[in-house]
Every structure is written in structure tokens, then in C-alpha cells.
């Protein structure tokens, strides 16, 4: 970062953030539909086209809702979940980072927003009653345990804001020194894997009308934000960094970053469809997911932390050696 934040870069960053948020919210149902179709192709079923999810959401928005007991709380939870999901989408870099000095959230805030959105999405299942109550409670429990399972990943990111963390990661090659962060990205990716009641099917929601549409859109947004987060951490070099050169190279980097984002989403869709081939019972899916997130994050943190701490320790010993040498030399200088 060679210069301070200017008004021009601030407006450009705001514009980029708005564009990223809109892109993410619009692309989320497409991504979900594409994963569904790919999983259907892998399992030999015929499912809807990738755009079918958007059509479903659009259709649900226009339908009149059927009011039931506890529907007020459910609609409130759906709206809150969508707001949190859009907030998280706003904070997640898709193709560009924010310039230094621009206010950026920390990684913990981002994860908390996503986990809160997941919790709010599980709330209508519990409120509605019926057959989905047990699954709703299990989803609530699993999502509330997600934040403790993410502790190693949160420790890796540290207290700095997320954009600065990614700007630091950007200098590391993912096939070289940045390899532990690929592991961290895998741990973040596994947060979205093995969700839902059974293989490929999401939790049945008994909402109707616009609430159902909001619920579906928020679910897709949360999934896509987790995937994008994992892709950013795993390969931060694809993100554009404003401020280090002129506007035109930044725009070119943004375009390249968007293309890389699509490529990362394609790989993630393949992997997600592959994880849907694993047949596991519902409680077991939650356990597998939490254990995978925690243990992979712990391993990634250990691998990355060993290098950093060793470097720090080496620096400390080297500086101590220098001080000692200087002291000896001082003594040597003074004794004669």
C-alpha cells in the first residue's frame, strides 16, 4: 500500500462492494440449482434446471401465504436471516478486496453473521411444529455448535480485519507457502457440506408464500457466502487489491477475479455434489460435519502456526544473538 486512502478509491470500493453483494445474492439460487442438478446427474436422477430454483423463488414470492400458528415469528426469522445473509454477502470479497484504511469487518463478525443466519433459518422449523420439529432442533443444535467448531479457523485469521488478512495471504502462493490456508479453506467449505435432512434434500420448510421465498433465498445466500469465503481463503491471489497500482490494472484484476470466482464455484459445486453421494443419517451428518470442520481447522492452524512460530522464534533467537554479540563486542571494545 503505497498511498493513503483517497475519495476516489473509497467510492470505487463502495461501488465494488455493492456490485459484489448484488452479484452474490443473484447468483446464490443459480448456484444452489446447479449443485442440485449436478447431484441429480451423479445419482442418476433427473432434476430441475439450474434456473429452476430462481423460478421457484419468484413463484413463491407471488403466491399468497397461508397463515398458521406462529407464522409471525417465522416470517420475522426469515427476514432477519435474509438481512444477516445479505450483510455477510456484503462483507465477503468476491473479486476484489477493499483498500487499506477502508472499514472492513473481522472474520469473527462474518462467521457470527453467517451462523446467526443459519440459526434464524432453523427457527421456523421449530416454530411450525409437525414432523420437522425434531429436524429443526437438530439443525439448531448443529448450527449453534458450529461456532465453537470454527475456533481454530478463527484463531488462524486472528484479530485483524478480514481484508487485511486476505491481503497478507495474497502474497503467498497456494501451492507453496500458502498451502496451510488451502486446508483452512477446505475446513470452511465443509461447513456447507452435509447439510439438510438427507442426501441432496434440504430441510423441508412448511412456510408458504413470500416467507418461503425469503427462506429459500436466505438459505442459498448463506451457502454461497460460505463457499465464496472458502474460495477466498484457499486462493487469495485471485482477488484484486485496489490501491497498489492504477485504476485500469485494478479493473482488469477485478474481471480476472470474477472469472476465477466462477471457476472456484464450479469446483465447489462438483465437490458439494460429490458429498451428497455419501448416505448418512441426519444426526450423523451433523457430527461428521462438525468433526471435519474442527479437526481440519485444527490441523491447518497447527501447520500454519508451526511455521509462523518457528520464524518468530528464530527471529527472537537471532535478535538475542545479535544483542549478545553486540554486548560481547562492546565488552571487547571496552576491555582493551
Amino acid at each position: 500500500m503505497t498511498h493513503d486512502l483517497t475519495w476516489g478509491w473509497s467510492f470505487a470500493a463502495l461501488l465494488a462492494l455493492a456490485l459484489q453483494t448484488v452479484l452474490m445474492v443473484l447468483a446464490a439460487p443459480w448456484f444452489s440449482g446447479w449443485v442440485n442438478r449436478l447431484a441429480g446427474r451423479l445419482t442418476g436422477e433427473h432434476r430441475f434446471l439450474a434456473g429452476g430454483r430462481w423460478q421457484d423463488i419468484h413463484h413463491q414470492f407471488r403466491r399468497p401465504g397461508l397463515r398458521q400458528r406462529g407464522d409471525g415469528l417465522s416470517s420475522l426469522a426469515c427476514r432477519g436471516a435474509l438481512i444477516l445473509a445479505v450483510f455477510a454477502a456484503c462483507m465477503t470479497p468476491v473479486f476484489t478486496l477493499v483498500p487499506a484504511g477502508f472499514p472492513a469487518p473481522g472474520f469473527f463478525l462474518l462467521c457470527s453473521a453467517l451462523v446467526g443466519a443459519s440459526l434464524l433459518l432453523g427457527l421456523p422449523l421449530v416454530v411450525q411444529g409437525g414432523t420437522t420439529t425434531l429436524a429443526g432442533y437438530a439443525a439448531l443444535l448443529a448450527d449453534s455448535l458450529l461456532l465453537p467448531a470454527l475456533v481454530p479457523v478463527l484463531v488462524m485469521a486472528g484479530g485483524q480485519d478480514f481484508s487485511a488478512f486476505l491481503a497478507h495471504l495474497r502474497q503467498l502462493s497456494p501451492v507453496g507457502d500458502g498451502a496451510p490456508f488451502v486446508l483452512m479453506g477446505v475446513a470452511l467449505f465443509l461447513v456447507t457440506a452435509w447439510k439438510g435432512r438427507q442426501a441432496g434434500a434440504e430441510l423441508p420448510c412448511q412456510l408458504s408464500g413470500a416467507d418461503r421465498a425469503l427462506w429459500m433465498l436466505a438459505t442459498d445466500c448463506v451457502q454461497l457466502v460460505w463457499i465464496t469465503l472458502a474460495g477466498d481463503v484457499a486462493w487469495a491471489s485471485s482477488l484484486a487489491l485496489p490501491g497498489e497500482s492504477g485504476v485500469e490494472p485494478w479493473l482488469a484484476q477485478c474481471l480476472a477475479g470474477g472469472a476465477f470466482w466462477v471457476a472456484k464455484l464450479a469446483i465447489a459445486a462438483l465437490l458439494l455434489a460429490g458429498t451428497q453421494l455419501m448416505v448418512l443419517t441426519f444426526p450423523r451428518r451433523a457430527r461428521v460435519r462438525l468433526a471435519a470442520v474442527f479437526l481440519l481447522g485444527l490441523l491447518a492452524w497447527q501447520v500454519a502456526y508451526a511455521g509462523q512460530s518457528a520464524a518468530v522464534g528464530q527471529d527472537k533467537t537471532a535478535s538475542a544473538q545479535d544483542e549478545q554479540d553486540s554486548a560481547w563486542s562492546d565488552e571487547g571494545n571496552t576491555t582493551p
Binding site: 497456494p174 501451492v175 507453496g176 507457502d177 498451502a179 496451510p180 488451502v182 486446508l183 477446505v186 455419501m278 448418512l280 450423523r284 457430527r287 461428521v288 468433526a291 471435519a292 479437526l295 481440519l296 485444527l298 490441523l299 497447527q302 501447520v303 500454519a304 508451526a306 511455521g307 509462523q308 512460530s309 518457528a310 520464524a311 522464534g313 528464530q314
Partner: protein
């Protein structure tokens, strides 16, 4: 620290979780992790060995049918391996431990080779299928070789290559001995349609039996169920398969010698050709079952008063047992109800046991006496045709169940 070093333990976890299918990917990634740092002959030798040990077994196993072993271990086994990896990393990746290893100071460090070997050991320990354990051993070899190559230990690499050869050879021999070869049946438009019961899950039974590709280079007796199936099907084509009710009533009347004879024949005729056949069977008892079946049937049917071909076939099979012929008339009376089928099946098992190499078939042959247990109390003696049909049905069901 490269991405390949990170990916190798993950792929080893996939081997633990899903089986031998991820072994080629593990081998390739391990070879890349070896070659990325240096291109010395040691690295190249290790990479070639790892790729060979990972690709060749998978190709070899792909020529055999899935043994369908029921795995009782749950999906938590990979997490045991992952937790052990974390502990291993905790023990070796700390700055105190890293201070003693001068080569890794300052860089992120993961004992990838040891992690892969650990995952392989977990697969060997916790999984029960033979192929899975073999995959675990091979992953273990990969991991130790990666460790040796990274640390530049020539002796470790050499010994591991030797051990890998031994593991691959022994595992391949076990697979060859236990598992059935894949026999690709050509698509038959009309032949399979008229007898859908002949369709097993993996292959066409009729293709296997007469001249088809032998499972492991043995005689046609190596497959129990298809052979009995064809006999029984020949019986079903010649006459109606169900036993007539008057058979049972006739069956209870004659004595022991007649009970072993064909039940359709009148008792007056039965004794003489039965003796002939018994004496003939005594002469050829040392021969193979198949040759007895081929030779004995026409002679006996010519000698006898026109018994049906099916029953003479089955009786020919059954009469080859010398112990059954050696039964005295007296004590055979009380043994007949309980011991006769057991003796027949045990004799079949003892006849076929040297020829059978497959454990599953041998077990299916040896556990045949067990289902006769509750039928010992059956007051109605069983005709040889019923016994043969039971044997066929059991073998067929076993085959179907194994394929399903």
C-alpha cells in the same frame, strides 16, 4: 511446504473413508510431493515406486468382482485418523521439536509421510474388508516412502520399496484367491428373456458354467451354484420340477436300499439296477464327480428300466459317495432320516473342497449341513431330487445375496 504435501494426508483420509478408489490419486499426489523439491535419483525412484504401488493394485482389483463384504465400521473412522494426525502434528510440529530439525526451521511443516502412514494404519486396524485393509497397507507404504524421500534416507526408501513389493504381491495373491473374476457377459437379446431367474446380479450364470471364463483357472467345479443350477434347470426342462405327492408316500414304504434308489421305479425293479449302479459307482468312486456324472448316467439309464434322465443324473451324483455305499443295511435305518442328507452334503463338501479355492464357495459348501438341522425331525424322508433342489436353491440364493 507445498500443496501436494497438504493434499496427500487428505487423500489418505479419503482412502480411509471411501476405500481403494482414492489410492491412485494418493500415489500421484505423493509422487508430485516428492518431485517438487528436488529431482535427484532417489526422489525419482521413490516417485516411480509410489505410483506403481498405487496404480497397479487398483487396476488388479478392478478385474475382480466386488466381494460385497459388509462393513460394520461407521463413518467416524476417518476422524480417528484425522485426530491422530492432529496429535502427530502437535508432537512434531512444535517449535521445540522443530528446533532439532534444522531443515524445516522457518517454514510451515507437516509430517505428511507420517500422517499418510498413520491413516493407512488406521484403515488396516479399523476396516474389515480385505481390499480396504490392503489399500491401507499400500497407503502406509506410500507414507513411509514419502517420509524417507523427504528426509533423504536411502535405506528407508529401499526397505520400503521391498516391503511394498511384498505387500502388493501378497495382497494380490489374496485377492486372486478369494475374489471372483469379472466375466463380462455379451448382451443376449432372446436367451436371457425366457429365463429371467438365471440372471444373477453381476454375470450370466449360464455363461460361466459350461465353457465360460473360469474364475481362477480351475475346472468347472469351481463354481458350485451355477453347476447345480444347470442340473436342476435341465431337470426342470425335462419334467416338472415339483415333486409329485405320491413320491413321498412311496418313499416312506421301501427299505433303506430302496430309499437310495430312484423313487419312481417300482420296488421290484429297483433292487437289481440299484445294485449294479452301486457296484459301478463303487468302481468309479475315486474319479471326479463330473466324469461320474457324464459316464454313469447313460450306462445306468440303459441298464435301469428307463428311469428319467434327471433322477439318474442326481442319483449318479449322489451315488459317488463311497461312504454312503458302505453303509450297512441295519444301522442305516435309523441314520437315514438324519444322517443321510448330512452325509451327502458333507461328502459333497469333502469331494469339492480340494477343488474349491474360493473361501466363499467353500463356506457355502461347508455350511450346507447346517440348514438340514431343523429338517432332521422331518418324518418324511427326502428324496435325492429334493435334496438336490435344496442344494441348488441355497447356492442360488447365496449367489444372489452376494451379488446384491
Amino acid at each position: 511446504m507445498t500443496l501436494a504435501v497438504i493434499l496427500a494426508p487428505l487423500l489418505a483420509l479419503c482412502v480411509v473413508a471411501r476405500g481403494i478408489g482414492f489410492l491412485p490419486a494418493l500415489g500421484v499426489v505423493t509422487a508430485v510431493a516428492m518431485l517438487v523439491d528436488a529431482r535427484a535419483p532417489l526422489q525419482e525412484f521413490g516417485a516411480v515406486c509410489v505410483v506403481l504401488f498405487s496404480v497397479l493394485p487398483v487396476w488388479f482389483v478392478s478385474r475382480y468382482q466386488d466381494d460385497g463384504a459388509r462393513e460394520r465400521t461407521g463413518p467416524m473412522v476417518p476422524f480417528l485418523a484425522l485426530g491422530l494426525m492432529v496429535i502427530l502434528q502437535l508432537a512434531t510440529g512444535t517449535p521445540a521439536a522443530m528446533g532439532e530439525a534444522p531443515g524445516h526451521a522457518g517454514a510451515a511443516y507437516l509430517p505428511a509421510g507420517l500422517c499418510v502412514a498413520l491413516a493407512g494404519l488406521v484403515a488396516v486396524t479399523c476396516r474389515q474388508a480385505m481390499v480396504w485393509q490392503w489399500a491401507g497397507l499400500l497407503a502406509c507404504v506410500d507414507g513411509v516412502m514419502l517420509s524417507g524421500v523427504i528426509e533423504n534416507q536411502v535405506m528407508v526408501v529401499g526397505v520400503t520399496a521391498l516391503a511394498g513389493c511384498v505387500v502388493a504381491l501378497l495382497g494380490g495373491m489374496c485377492v486372486h484367491r478369494v475374489m471372483l473374476r469379472v466375466a463380462v457377459a455379451p448382451a443376449q437379446s432372446g436367451a436371457g428373456a425366457d429365463r429371467p431367474s438365471a440372471r444373477s446380479g453381476g454375470f450370466e450364470l449360464g455363461d460361466v458354467e459350461p465353457t465360460g471364463p473360469e474364475p481362477r483357472g480351475l475346472g468347472p467345479e469351481a463354481v458350485v451354484a451355477p453347476r447345480i443350477w444347470t442340473e436342476a434347470e435341465a431337470a426342470a426342462e425335462d419334467e416338472e420340477p415339483l415333486p409329485r405327492p405320491d413320491k413321498a408316500t412311496k418313499k416312506a414304504v421301501p427299505s433303506d436300499g430302496d430309499a437310495k434308489a430312484d423313487v419312481d421305479q417300482p420296488p421290484a425293479e429297483t433292487s437289481e439296477p440299484q445294485d449294479k449302479r452301486a457296484s459301478y459307482a463303487g468302481t468309479v468312486a475315486s474319479d471326479d464327480v463330473e466324469t461320474v456324472k457324464q459316464n454313469d448316467v447313460p450306462d445306468a439309464s440303459n441298464d435301469a428300466a428307463k428311469p428319467t434322465e434327471t433322477e439318474s443324473t442326481e442319483s449318479g451324483v449322489l451315488k459317488t459317495d463311497p461312504s454312503e455305499d458302505a453303509l450297512s443295511e441295519d444301522d442305516a435305518e435309523d441314520r437315514k432320516a438324519g444322517m443321510d442328507p448330512a452325509a451327502v452334503s458333507a461328502a459333497e463338501a469333502s469331494d469339492k473342497a480340494p477343488e474349491h479355492t474360493s473361501d466363499t464357495e467353500a463356506s457355502s459348501a461347508t455350511d450346507q449341513p447346517e440348514p438340514f438341522g431343523p429338517e432332521e425331525a422331518d418324518p418324511v424322508p427326502r428324496t435325492p431330487e429334493m435334496i438336490a433342489r435344496d442344494v441348488w436353491l441355497r447356492g442360488y440364493l447365496t449367489e444372489r445375496g452376494r451379488d446384491a
